[in-house]
Amino acid sequence: MRLGPAGRRPEAGAAVHPVLRAGLAIGLALLLASVLFWASGADPLAAYRVMFGYAFANPSGLVASLHRAIYLAFCTSAFLVPLRAGLWNIGLPGQVYAGTLAAYAIPFALGLHGPTPGAPTLPVPLLMALAAAAAGAALGGFVGFLRARMQVNEILVTMMLNSALFWIVSDFIKEGGPFMSATAEGESFNLPDPLRPALWVGLPPTALVALVAAAAVDFVFSRTAAGYRVRAFGLNPRAARYAGIDPVRVSVGVFVVGGALAGLAGYHYFAAVPGLYKIPTNYGYYGDLSFYGIICGLIARGSALRALPMALLFAGLSLGGRFAQGALRLPFGVDYAILGLLMTSFVATHLLDRSRLRLLPSRLAQPAGTHAEGAP
């Protein structure tokens, strides 16, 4: 698929300005969601007032929104990097889980998970973050390798890994698993105080990392030779090979970077954010949330920085949705519904925009380009 700014100039082929299109997609989704609210007997305006009020005007809600936005920002970058190579990383949950497990393995291995941990002599939070990135990268690299060397469909592999890793996490935190909490409630041990990274105006250091990562992703794709090679490969693998670009290096590389970013997302949400500091029973919910990263990336048309405000908006929507659920007695899963509707409205606006020219009389339309290397 063709997404994102090409080089340093706006795409000649884009018919509608990207920001306008993003706004259109989001607006359409919210409109559809209001139909759902209305059907469930709630006043849509009231629902949105409650949602936005909690997510952005309530101090504790705002902090939670920001924490979640950072998580989504990591996920977005993790999705975007492989996408630029034409590859779909829908393995975000699996990579998040892998990163989280690796992060918790550090205090576990150092014996710091007991009820009375000794004072750590090592920069444990840093080690945890590195371990998370490494685990995500390893899992992603595996996918990239299968894809590049054997042309194994990356969508299937990443999806299978999501399911497999989901159960592996259960194995670690439930029914006598090594990370199980002392109270045996089907969740992991609590991260002891000294191992929690310091906060600055309520935000953990991962906030800065996410920001730098997003900026770096955009920089790499717009300015560097490596980013150029990935884009060329994503748009036409045969031309890339002709130009001497190594397909294995590109595929493995983008998945290693994507996996590392998703692993960091796991570290951020499960080990660096107040209110959690453990792998909870409903860790699957946080895995599902990572799919918002896919939508952010798609709607932002390839730019990780442009996706940041969207990540904040979606973080607020999903949190506010949960809150409105309780306040207005809406059915469970408002956040899921919005996720689905956003995806649909993105696909609709994206495809309608791309085919706009085709719906005009044929003599006005541009000649259809060469067909994309579409099959995964």
Partner: protein, 291 residues
């Protein structure tokens, strides 16, 4: 033991129905990676309709209708608008994942209907799926329409030059495929495990998608593959039947997914690729335009 076998066949039927639909879709050259979404939506519609009208049949009807509708949507995006089929399929999956969670949540819990009547412990879904395998094989390899479908999936330009309406054939296959995916979902929520839960499939649809690749696009091999996975699935739920005490039950749950990856890798090896490469519809995933 016979109960395990019956349960395995029930499970395999869910895989089989959805994968048959995907097989037909892919034979016409269209990839629908949103199979899991179609199954989720079909299964949820079946569950809600059956519960509301206290009738299994109403559930099946709802599943078929919803599956057809989503198939139509995919056909419109990928055939008429010639969009990227992966984008459209992913969209359908996440749409279904999100919306069914919202729509189904108030009804979380058991279906509350009598179990379907069984013959030899098997529900009517099992027999229908087997009949469909035969029917699909016959359709694809013994009828003119089947020849047209296979040709459209291999070389749409050649089919068009022979007077085949490529778009019509693709619409037909994608909609029919969606309908079957819906039916697969219904087999899950009405028969295999009639309890609604958020995201109840947890990857079944993607396993079905993988099964189509394993099958070399042949209905009989698909039947074999789905039975194999049905058995494996049941065993992963009841590992104590074969290897009591080995590994935790959670690790066992991960095994069907890991096996899928292993098989995917195996069939992608050079050794395997030659046959596989020939079986794969040449035009799979490529939009077709007459000009």
């Amino acid at each position: 033991m016979t109960e395990l076998l019956a349960r395995s066949l029930e499970a395999s039927t869910v895989f089989l129905l959805a994968a048959l639909g995907e097989l037909l879709t892919q034979r016409s050259g269209v990839l629908n990676v949103g199979l899991e979404g179609l199954m989720l939506f079909g299964g949820t519609a079946a569950f809600l309709a059956a519960q509301a009208m206290q009738s299994h049949l109403a559930g099946v009807g709802a599943a078929l209708a919803v599956g057809a509708l989503l198939g139509l949507l995919h056909a419109f995006f990928s055939v008429t608008l010639r969009g990227d089929q992966v984008v459209s399929g992913m969209g359908l999956w996440i749409l279904s994942f999100g919306l069914t969670t919202y729509l189904g949540s108030p009804h979380t819990g058991p279906l509350g209907l009598e179990r379907l009547p069984t013959v030899l412990g098997l529900s009517p879904f099992v027999a229908s799926a087997w009949v469909l395998v035969l029917a699909f094989w016959f359709l694809l390899f013994r009828t003119g329409l089947g020849l047209a479908i296979r040709s459209v999936g291999e070389n749409p330009a050649a089919a068009a030059a022979s007077g085949v309406d490529v778009h019509a054939v693709r619409y037909l296959c994608v909609v029919a495929g969606g309908t079957l995916a819906g039916l697969g979902g219904a087999a899950y929520t009405l028969s295999y495990n009639p309890v609604w839960n958020y995201n109840f499939l947890m990857g079944w649809g993607f396993v079905s998608l993988a099964l189509v690749f394993f099958s070399m696009w042949n209905p009989w091999l698909l039947l074999g593959g789905s039975v194999l996975f049905g058995v494996m699935w049941q065993l992963s739920l009841n590992p104590e039947l074969v290897l009591p005490g080995v590994l935790s039950r959670y690790v066992w749950r991960a095994i069907p997914f890991v096996t899928t990856i292993a098989i995917l890798a195996l069939i992608s090896t050079q050794w395997f690729r030659r046959r596989w490469g020939l079986a794969k519809p040449e035009a799979l995933g490529l939009p077709y335009s007459a000009d």
